[in-house]
């Protein structure tokens, strides 16, 4: 633990999917400090996505606490959790990140629709979207294009722009580079980190690819933080 304030603090969290008899995930202690970039490595089925859902508040732990930006997610109502997620967390998925029928502009502006404070930080949305696209190596005129017409690499950059807009304190990425080739992976991460640094955002990325570790401040194995009863069961 460093002296910097923790952006994410997980303590004694246990979660069991409905219908299961054993806990799928059991995390005694895990934290990330502000401005840090952390790579969480784990094999398929190790509980990475479940952990992300817990942090984002779309599912709630049976016990323990998850504190994001000083707020205990469990203490919020479901509606408050949705609003909190929109305000505090920028999300990038593995693939199929965008609404294919909507324009790039609408896709990037989507989280602002649900996050008034984030929206307030973006006085000129159209201009900000164009800047973000340019900074992420996308042509400015791409904003009018339909998201479904973009290449996978372009879609991931648009997803990054969407996660970054309005400067949320925490960016969570779920294997965003798995569909990209090695060269594009490096470029994507470089651009993502540069923008996150400008915004002062913390990055938590989950992946099964240990080669990405060199890009991050810290690399954590899922097995180091999670005690899975499933394996023991």
């Amino acid at each position: 633990m460093t002296a910097d304030p923790a952006i994410l603090l997980i303590k004694d969290v246990r979660y069991r999917w409905p219908g299961r008899t054993t806990f799928d995930i059991d995390i005694p202690d895990f934290s990330i400090v502000e401005g840090e970039s952390v790579l969480l490595l784990g094999e398929s089925g190790s509980g990475k996505s479940t952990l992300l859902s817990l942090i984002c508040g779309t599912i709630t732990a049976q016990s323990g606490s998850i504190i994001v930006s000083g707020t205990d997610i469990a203490a919020l109502s479901p509606g408050q959790r949705d609003g909190f997620r929109a305000e505090q967390i920028g999300l990038i998925f593995q693939q199929f990140n965008l609404l294919p029928y909507a324009s790039v502009m609408d896709n990037i502006l989507l989280p602002l629709r649900f996050a008034p404070s984030r929206r307030a930080r973006v006085p000129s949305p159209g201009e900000t979207v164009r800047h973000l696209c340019r900074d992420l190596g996308l042509p400015e005129d791409i904003v009018a294009a339909q998201a479904g017409t973009l290449s996978v690499g372009q879609q991931q950059r648009v997803a990054a722009a969407r996660a970054l807009i309005g400067a949320p304190p925490l960016i969570i990425a779920d294997e965003p580079t798995s569909a990209l080739d090695a060269a594009t992976q490096a470029t994507f991460l470089k651009l993502l980190f540069a923008q996150a640094e400008v915004n002062g955002s913390t990055i938590l990325m989950v992946s099964h690819d240990a080669r990405l570790a060199e890009h991050f401040d810290r690399c954590v194995q899922m097995t180091d933080i999670v005690t899975s009863q499933q394996a023991a069961a």
């Binding site: 779309t58 509606g79 199929f96």
Partner: protein, 416 residues
Amino acid sequence: MIFRLAFGSLVARALTVVMTILAIALSVALFLGVEKVRTGAKASFADTISGTDLIVGARSGSVQLLLYSVFRIGNATNNLTWESYQDIAGRPEVDWIVPISLGDSHRQFRVMGTSKAFFDRYKYRSGQSLAVENGAIMDDLFDAVIGADVAATLNYKVDDPIVVAHGLASFIEHEDQPFRVSGVLEKTGTPVDRTVIVSLEAIEAIHVDWNSGARIPGQSTPAEMIRQMELEPKAVTAALVGVKSRLQVFGLQRAINEYPEEPLLAILPGVALQELWQIVGIAETALVAVSGMVVVTALIGMMAMIFSSLNERRREMAILRAMGATPLTIVGLLVLEAALMAAIGALMGLALLYLSLIVAQPAVDAAFGLWLPIDAPSTRELWVLLGVVAAGAIVSMIPAFRAYRMSLADGMMVRI
């Protein structure tokens, strides 16, 4: 933005959405079309006679009297004697009176004996008067004026001869007293189009050699002799009456209904029409119900379409949830989409209706005498359209509730 997303999502599923909207549009057009025909038929019936305050005939039912005297449907059970007719004509409240004598026919068309006043007093479709398209109204005893449909069906023109048959379904003709077509009336869209009009005296003239509904054997009075005869009728079928003041209508009606010399019936055409609508109301309601069910079926089809699209849209819902959308936002999005489809369908249905009306109006008028007005949508029609949109939103709540549960279970992860 949510509206734009909803619209974009619909466009992305264009084929199924267009099919659904088309089904709604057709059902709405059918429903509104049935309404138009229903109200048009009512208006056409109501427009068949205007400006007549009372119809007088022998005592029977008010609807029966209306039907046989104005619409030439059915027959009179009895006649109104000429003395009674003259008594009524002489009453101070009466402004004008027109006799109607029915009973004979020409081919499939009724022959009506009346006075020349009929052409001045009979009004239809908001006070329009009869007009002669070719020729003139009766001048000679054996002149006949024919309606537009009679002329068109039988290909008659002015000066053509007409032989009237005795009764309505008889092969016995008054061949010794043929008529001449003196005029052809303009199309009215009323039963007048399907009527052969002769003078009241002419009806007497062709029955000079008849007694109790049968020809007197061996008797054949020459036409010239008939012309010299006093051809005052003994009875008429009915009479159309106009009063000097509307305030006197009910008083005169009561007086005629209590007429001591003969059992008579005086009816107000509007009231009798209302009674008629009550009688046909069940069929009318059934027709509206069937067309309403077609709309419901189309909306259920839309619900099925939304249901079937839910699974393929789980990813889309997961993205929205990840961005901070609540499950209720997802529900709202689906309901908004459904309302949009229903609204587009309803407006397309309205457009389809007007297009059909523009195309079919002259043909329907010519074929059935049914005038379907092309007016701005009525308040009732606007409520129907609004109802369709609301019903669309309501039925979509069932799949939306399923989407709500799915998005709660899926969160940001879709296990498909």
